[in-house]
């Protein structure tokens, strides 16, 4: 293991986050706070409790998931795409570094950033609405697994993208809609039966449901299924990353 290299890349990426503090921490916190003001305080007071939880509290896990998914992808995809764009990737590729080490460093840094962000949003939420966390360890488990999985997805997007536009494409056109439609702001039991079935094909449902269960003990699907699906996505991303490095896809001609 080239630990010095992992350390170097990890710190490089974390330094980048510190430089862009406004973009990476402050702006997601502000936008999440806006959701609380609008949905929690303004509209939420007119919405009855969902499964015995006030609406403002109900949406907290979903909002954290929304930030976690989009920021994990944004961080990781930009982290690997930018060196490809400027050409500085040559240094990483010519260094005595294994692919595993490259992934650990880049994905580790991206996941760290989004976990920190998730915890900041959680703390912000606690200022607005009453929160209970029934299963704190499971909460952390879902948080970390989701951050890692979607940072891996971001890494894949960052390698696949050949322009800044494509970098935005997947988060904007796929991940954000899936998150909104994945029960972040509602329980899928509120939907007509047909749409409930359709929603079960949305992977984000399992992430949000499991995460919400760790807070309030209420869930749309069983926590075990949520955990299983999270692992399934994790393994799928690992398989794709493995393929990328084996073939040198978009990295080595």
């Amino acid at each position: 293991m080239n630990l010095h290299a992992i350390n170097a890349i990890y710190r490089f990426e974390m330094a980048r986050a510190r430089r862009t503090l406004t973009q990476s921490i402050i702006s997601p916190v502000i936008s999440t706070s806006l959701y609380f003001v609008v949905f929690g305080a303004a509209i939420g007071s007119r919405i009855p409790h969902v499964d015995g939880v006030s609406y403002g509290s109900f949406i907290v896990p979903g909002l954290i998931m929304l930030a976690l998914l989009t920021q994990s992808i944004a961080n990781a995809s930009f982290g690997i795409y930018f060196p490809r764009f400027t050409g500085t990737i040559y240094e990483v590729l010519s260094a005595p570094v294994s692919y595993l080490e490259i992934v650990i460093a880049y994905v580790g840094a991206a996941a760290t950033k989004s976990i920190i962000l998730g915890l900041i949003i959680l703390a912000t939420a606690a200022l607005f609405v009453p929160l209970t966390i029934q299963h704190p360890l499971w909460m952390l488990m879902f948080l970390v697994l989701t951050a890692v999985t979607f940072s891996l997805l971001g890494f894949i997007i960052g390698i696949w993208a050949d322009g800044f536009e494509k970098l935005q494409l997947v988060p904007m056109l796929i991940v954000t809609p899936l998150t909104f439609l994945g029960g972040s702001f509602y329980s899928i039991s509120m939907l007509p039966p047909f749409w409930q079935t359709v929603t079960l094909f949305n992977p984000v449902v399992y992430l949000v449901s499991g995460f919400r269960w760790s807070f309030y003990g209420i869930a749309d699907v069983s926590p075990a299924l949520s955990l299983g699906m999270t692992f399934f996505f994790l393994v799928a991303c690992i398989v794709i990353v493995g393929w990328i490095f084996r073939t040198g896809y978009r990295l080595k001609p």
Binding site: H4, A5, R16, T88, S94, A95, P96, K252
Partner: protein, 308 residues
């Protein structure tokens, strides 16, 4: 002398079908300065990129310090520092952190004293806290060299090191290469500036259209292929070259005031003495003679032209 880099039967065909390297065989000796000379698109960068792990070879093997670049890539790459042709640098990092980053990447523990030494030797120390985007092109070039030297490599690749740099930096670069040679670092540089190869290299390889057509000690190469020219300044202009001198293949200058004799200085009987004697016999008086030797540039142009 031991071999530092051994390249055997290496070829590369890109996915587009372009064959950048045909079968290349080359040994680089430990501690030498090797210049890879060739026109644009000859395959110089592809060859370097394969050795450094940036491009996958189609066929063939490369060992660096005895380590295969594929099966034992860690040991091979630890030995190598690469200065790329393009000015590819980060933008927002400081000079010092960028060079420290490179050192870590190559698996070496932090060593601020060494980084300071490298930065000072490249006149970058004053800029250590500057953001890279504020540096001039020449400074960025120095930075790339500093990054390549950050992990104390035994081999340094300089891909077109002086393309677009000013005279001062070029001088500095040459001084640096001499210093590295003194420390025993093997240096491989690619260039299409012949002057550079002539100034710095111990050995020269000429590559064109994906093939290495010649590898020779610089002195031997210039010796072997160097033509000499003897110019005879005449006291009075002549209209035509006399019959008796036709065997020498002389050329008369435009105004008829001089005769030019091209000969191979390596041959025992190159004919200079005979020519001068025959000139006297023919009654042609001369006031001055001088000789010129072809530069590496002429040799190179000849070689590449022949190939076409």
């Amino acid at each position: 002398m031991t071999t530092m880099i051994s390249i055997s039967n290496l070829s590369k065909t890109y996915d587009s079908g372009f064959q950048a390297l045909k079968t290349v065989n080359l040994d680089i000796r430990r501690g030498e300065i090797f210049a890879l000379l060739g026109p644009n698109g000859a395959g110089k960068t592809t060859l370097i990129s394969i050795v450094c792990g940036l491009v996958n070879a189609s066929t063939g093997t490369v060992t660096v310090g005895g380590h295969d670049i594929v099966t034992d890539y860690r040991a091979a790459r630890e030995l190598i520092g690469l200065v790329p042709q393009e000015l590819t640098t980060e933008a927002f990092e400081t000079v010092f952190s960028a060079v420290s980053f490179s050192r870590g990447l190559f698996g070496k523990p932090a060593n601020p004293a060494h980084i300071e030494k490298v930065l000072r030797s490249l006149s970058l120390w004053d800029k250590r806290n500057s953001r890279i985007m504020t540096l001039s092109g020449g400074m960025k070039r120095r930075l790339l060299i500093a990054k390549a030297l950050s992990h104390e490599p035994g081999i340094l690749f300089l891909d077109e090191p002086t393309a677009g740099v000013d005279v001062e930096l070029r001088r500095d670069m040459w001084a640096l290469v001499s210093e590295l040679r003194r420390q025993g670092v093997t240096v491989i540089l690619t260039t299409h500036y012949i002057e550079e190869a002539e100034e710095m290299a111990d050995r020269i390889g000429v590559i064109t259209r994906g093939e290495i057509i010649l590898v020779e000690d610089k002195a031997t190469l210039m010796h072997k292929l160097g033509r000499k020219q003897l110019t005879v300044q005449l006291q009075e202009a002549i209209g035509a070259i006399p019959e008796t001198l036709s065997g020498y293949g002389l050329e008369r200058t435009e105004d008829g005031h001089a005769l030019v004799f091209t000969y191979d200085a390596e041959r025992a009987q190159h004919g200079v003495a005979e020519l001068l004697r025959d000139l006297a016999t023919a009654g042609i008086a001369f006031k001055d003679v001088n000789t010129t030797q072809s530069s590496l540039e002429d040799i190179f142009v000849d070689l590449v032209k022949e190939e076409r």
